[in-house]
């Protein structure tokens, strides 16, 4: 580990929740504006989490909180691996492990809505994971390395070669960010058939952990978007912001769709845009 990577990892651990929280607060304000409301203050997510931490720790059994802690830790670790400049595939796998812990936490509570939520979360993972891993493959094809720093320092801009992969990634990012139309397993507002889906039984502190982990996850996913711009980091940041704005917009102009359409469309997008993009690179441009 070099000094830079150490600093970056530490910065990630400290700053990611701050940035994630502000992004989430901004999200709520922008959403509110789109609904012609005023919306909460930008630091509202922090109030929420602090409040949740102060609430009584209601549990159905004493284990689900433990799984939530594992979920948080593995989310942070995958972020650390990313900012520490490790292998991108391993980062994604660590993120998958984190996701599995979340699902297990929901399973552990053994409550009907949480169980259905867990199953839906699995469906979401089934829909989203292929494209996320494929985007790492795409980056590898263009830059010749799975190394995060290697990709970030590459001389050209990967997105020029990978527009299809990028769009497809943005598509499944909506699933990962739990945004409408893909907020099947749990949604920000519990006006859905599953009450709060897999978070139904998480109360107080464990829900707080979920929120914090989600902030880390958001930052990590946006950082993956950022990778598509190689060493042009300003462009990357701008585009990451724009992408997030687009996600908010999508969130606000769509009804929640059903799992079948989600699965089919996500796979279709992965196959057509993602794999198609790689095929074209390989067969037409011989990269």
């Amino acid at each position: 580990m070099t000094t830079t990577s150490t600093i970056l990892v530490i910065l990630f651990i400290i700053l990611a929740p701050v940035i994630g929280g502000i992004i989430s607060g901004g999200d709520r304000i922008i959403s509110a504006k789109m609904q012609s409301r005023v919306g909460p203050p930008i630091v509202q997510p922090f109030y929420d989490v602090l409040k949740l931490m102060g609430k009584e720790n209601l549990v159905v059994n004493r284990y689900h909180g433990d799984y939530m802690i594992c979920f948080l830790i593995f989310t942070i670790v995958s972020g650390c691996l990313f900012f520490g400049g490790n292998n991108l595939l391993l980062v994604i796998f660590a993120l998958i492990v984190a996701g599995v812990f979340l699902v297990l936490a929901a399973y552990c509570t053994n409550s009907p809505y949480a169980l259905i939520g867990a199953e839906r979360e699995l469906l979401q993972m089934l829909a989203a994971e292929p494209m996320i891993i494929l985007s790492a493959v795409g980056l590898y094809v263009v830059t010749g390395t799975f190394d995060v720093y290697g990709i970030a320092n590459c001389q050209h801009i990967p997105i020029i070669y990978l527009p299809g992969v990028f769009i497809a990634l943005t598509y499944v990012l909506t699933i990962k960010l739990r945004k409408s139309p893909f907020d099947l397993s749990t949604s920000h507002h519990a006006h859905q058939e599953l009450v709060k889906g897999l978070t139904t039984e998480f109360a107080g502190p464990s829900l707080g952990l979920f929120e914090i982990a989600h902030w880390y996850e958001t930052v990590l996913l946006l950082a993956m978007i950022f990778l598509f711009f190689g060493s042009y980091w300003i462009l990357g940041i701008i585009l990451a912001v724009i992408i997030y704005f687009i996600e908010i917009l999508i969130d606000n102009i769509n009804a929640r769709i059903k799992w079948e359409l989600m699965l089919i469309s996500a796979w279709a997008v992965t196959l057509i845009l993602g794999v198609g993009n790689l095929m074209i690179l390989y067969f037409v441009f011989h990269i």
Binding site: S180, P181, I253, R256
Partner: protein
């Protein structure tokens, strides 16, 4: 084969503003069996007719349901008026129609919002209710209430609206509502994800709709023209309208029916504004009701039946309401069979359930 999932759906459930309960049996996410249970808010208010004089029952009737309270009042009053042979002044009838149509607009837009919410379309929900507030403003100005108005009484209405205000300000306000609403209507009928969630979901064929006794937009969405306003009660004798009918028999059809009915109601309000005669708004009520009558009026949710029976005392002998949601429960069960879990809220909402009506 896989084990089946059995879950309670409601009475406390965030998609349902009101407590209704379904035992859902699922396979994967497909509903294979649904058994309803109503009765969580059964109050037994029909029995109040034995404790309160018949004039006061109008207030009770209005509180059967807070969304269609105006029309409940009208329906009950008409029943008593028929039994007692009271002639309601035409202006009062027109005003009843005006407020009635206004509450239909209010109810339908409210429903559209809830329906959007049931399919997870948060911002559409917000915008629908934003438009609805403009409707409520008229109510608040004319009756003092936002959802419960207490303007209807036996023999007429309690309040009058000045012609000046009605013809100028309100007709402008209605124009504005229509303008804002048309934008929403477009989303409800054309948006891709909205159509995805509603098309071919909760299909109720024309035959089933008739056989199971569906009423209101539910039956009109299945291609049957049935609208109690065609009975020409009250001011509807002088107003022109055609029942809105859609033929695709699914949730989408029921939505489109309601979307179009809002325009229809706006049109009816304009007719009321242009045709409203001058005069008294109430007549004195003398005597006590003796006799019986089934008063049928069209609520936003469909046909409502009031049965009033008086025996000559100040208390009614029997006061009975059959609300549209009650009639729509058997069709609802039909629609739920074989749908997805995700469709359950959309389908339940699609009959515009009003549980407090149903259980009284």
């Amino acid at each position: 084969m896989a084990k089946r999932t059995v879950i309670p759906f409601g009475p406390h459930h965030p998609v349902l503003p009101e407590p209704v309960h379904l035992d859902l049996v699922l396979e994967d996410e497909t509903v294979v069996e649904a058994i309803p249970n109503v009765g969580f808010i059964h109050r037994g208010l029909e029995m109040l007719c034995k404790k309160k004089p018949f004039q006061d029952i109008v207030l009770v009737a209005e509180r059967i349901c807070g969304i269609c309270s105006m029309i409940h009042g009208v329906g009950f009053s008409q029943g008593v008026e028929k039994v007692m042979d009271i002639d309601v002044p035409p202006r009062a009838e027109y005003l009843r129609a005006f407020w009635g149509e206004l509450s239909r607009v209010h109810s339908h837009i409210l429903w559209l919002g809830l329906a959007a919410d049931a399919i997870g379309f948060e911002s559409l929900f917000m915008h629908s209710w934003r438009v609805r507030e403009m409707v409520l403003d008229i109510f608040e100005e004319t009756t003092g209430g936002r959802v419960i108005f207490d303007v209807c009484k036996i023999g007429g209405v309690r309040k009058d609206i000045e012609n000046e205000i009605l013809k100028n300000r309100f007709s402008q306000q209605i124009d504005k509502i229509e303008e804002e609403y048309s934008k929403l209507a477009k989303v409800f009928t054309e948006d891709y994800t909205v159509c995805h969630r509603w098309s071919n979901v909760g299909v109720l064929t024309k035959e089933d709709a008739h056989k199971l006794g569906a009423v209101g937009p539910t039956v009109r969405g299945s291609g049957i023209s049935q609208d109690m306003r065609t009975l020409k009660y009250g001011a509807y004798e002088h107003l022109d309208f055609e029942p809105v009918v859609e033929n695709s028999c699914d949730c989408y059809a029921r939505t489109v029916v309601r979307v179009k009915e809002v325009f229809q109601s706006i049109d009816l309000m304009r007719q009321v504004i242009s045709k409203i005669p001058d005069g008294e708004v109430e007549t004195k009520v003398k005597g006590t009701p003796k006799g019986e009558y089934f008063s049928r009026v069209e609520q936003p949710r469909g046909e409502v039946v009031y049965y009033v029976k008086g025996d000559g005392t100040k208390n009614l002998d029997r006061f009975r309401v059959r609300t549209p949601t009650f009639a729509n429960i058997p069709p609802l069960l039909q629609m739920l069979g074989g749908c997805d879990l995700a469709d359950v809220p959309a389908i339940v909402i699609s009959i515009d359930p009003c549980i407090s009506c149903t259980e009284r």
